[in-house]
Subunit: 352 residues, 2 copies
């Protein structure tokens, strides 16, 4: 892609299980993939330079931003953000806040990325709770699962906003026109579910500018029956992680079966491309990281176990996010909601 | 199995997508599998007799109990139970209530089975909310998912009771000594999760007579890291149905891949037994139906799409449930809890 647009991504080079080797490798791969990308590698200069020395790359498109500290995977998120001012994550988030970068990508402590996004980059005015929204694989291509870990004990109003933010993302970044929105529930009928689902359904049904198709049961998610799968964070997290776990266990089971006899070993060798293709389709890491939607800049969380390829794909995602002006569209949606609310109160005033 | 014990199972012969053909076939297969089983086929006599005429079976071990009505899959549960007094489900549940059968098995309307169990068979005194507890397949064999659809918006106290009921079941019916109990959560640490998980964790940790190992993330469920997987019904239902959906979609994807080229077709033929073995391990229907625990008699819900084999396995399960005197053990647990509570209040009184 040769684009006149460009994006500058701050990469938390020290975050994740394979940092900084895989983060730096992924950054270099992203530079090669698109000329519109510039990267700030944030972290311990010596370690980053050592990794960078392994590659040929355009030196004017990568800078190193020094940060002496790191945040561990198990640290208490809010406390880590508040006290570790010179950690690679906090320094990177501040670059986004100060307009020195368009996006921050991190494979580090999820809670810290979520907390830091809200505390440092801050919400767009009117966004109640920024949701974490990964693309998940289905038989009908990637679909958006929203929210997936940012907001436990969410209320119905939050889920309605997730539906709008998710629709904007799917239409603009994934290119699905008028994306189908569904609410995760334990039955197809409107009256099914827990208190939150029952309260949310009529609000979604009454929402303008989204294509609400009703409830979706979990068994239909892998078929790709909805483009934007709306749920609160606890359930979303369970869905995402069960996807990961079940696909891995099935893949391991298949491998064990294949190596259990000569006959199946030969079969396995012949079948390998087909198996890899199918199971690869259900690899949750293929689409890159999950954006935290509704912040004043882009913050993207990638898996803690991310390798270079996921880092690369995530950085490329940031370009589409900026090109499509997702945040401009989110602001426009918020303005329209406010205008509708004002109108509504106006009418109510007259009714009195 | 040649057992001196015997069980009488009322089978809702009209419930499910393939009734009465598959229900009757399953009943005959169960009779053949164990001499301790007697069955009452409840439903429309003519249709049942016609199906029965296809088989050889011991006539003195099967009776037909006439019920003129049926409950559809989409009917409102409580209303159906209250108004359709001569439906196969209600007649069967009344047999359990009146001691004419030890168990009721149905593949019909889930909500109606759950509501009917509570309204007609009734709870054991002290059981707050009877949970639906299916066995799910994992890499380490079958594990119990409790609750899975009976009690949305459950409270922490209910989850603690699910842990105890589930432990009794896994130890007695599945034969796992001191079963490991875990709470479904979105992180491993005690302080993680939504309000319900945070409230439930310390209560489980303080519970005697269960082997609580802490939180379990959804990605670890398919590995079989816990024997009793405790969660409220909404999340449990999502887990169960995503298991079903994802396994089916992956299996279909594999089949499509195999038939995509000659090379993979040959490989697929050689690999077929191994593939079938692995994917068969993750078929949720293999363990039979899900019991509704804590009622005064046994009520078991099987999949709406049950074929004869699942019906047969479910009827066999009823024998183990009775032999192991699960309800006697549940009553004993309730008594001990009450005694502990009384003791506790005694101490509190003295403290004052």
């Amino acid at each position: 892609m040769d684009s006149s647009e460009s994006v500058k991504v701050a990469l938390d080079a020290m975050g994740g299980d394979y940092a900084p080797a895989e983060t730096v490798k992924g950054a270099v791969a992203a530079l090669e993939a698109d000329p519109g990308i510039r990267i700030a590698l944030v972290g311990k200069g010596d370690e980053i330079r050592q990794e960078l020395s392994k590659y040929d790359y355009q030196k004017d498109r990568i800078e190193i931003v020094s940060a002496s500290d790191t945040i561990d995977m198990a640290e208490a998120p809010v406390n880590a953000i508040r006290t570790k001012k010179d950690s690679s994550l906090v320094v990177g988030l501040n670059m986004v806040k100060n307009g020195e970068a368009d996006a921050l990508v991190s494979s580090g402590n999820t809670g810290a990325v979520l907390a830091g996004g809200q505390l440092i980059v801050r919400r767009i005015k009117g966004v109640q709770r920024p949701p974490l929204a990964p693309l998940i694989p289905t038989a009908a291509g990637p679909k958006l699962l929203i929210d997936c870990g940012a907001n436990v004990d969410a209320r119905a109003q939050h889920l309605v906003q997730f539906a709008h933010l998710g629709s904007i993302y799917m239409e603009s970044v994934v290119g699905i026109k008028n994306p189908k929105v569904a609410l995760v529930n334990i039955g197809a009928e409107e009256e099914k579910g827990n208190a939150l689902a029952k309260e949310t359904y009529p609000l979604l049904a009454a929402s303008k500018n989204i294509n609400f198709i009703g409830n979706i049961e979990a068994r239909d998610i892998p078929y790709g029956k909805a483009d934007v799968i709306v749920t609160e964070a606890f359930v979303g997290n369970v869905i995402l992680k069960l996807y990961e776990g079940l696909a891995k266990v099935l893949m391991k089971g298949l491998k064990d079966s294949i190596y259990s006899s000569t006959r199946s070993k030969i079969g396995g060798a012949l079948l390998k491309p087909a198996l890899k293709n199918t199971l690869g389709q259900f690899d949750v890491s293929q689409y890159g990281g999950a954006p935290l939607l509704g912040l004043r800049g882009l913050v993207v969380k990638t898996h803690g176990s991310s390798k270079a390829n996921e880092i690369r794909n995530t950085i490329l995602q940031c370009l589409a996010f900026k090109e499509q002006d997702i945040n401009g569209k989110i602001r426009k949606y918020i303005e329209e909601e406010n205008a509708a609310d004002a109108n509504q109160s106006g009418r109510e005033d007259r009714d009195e």
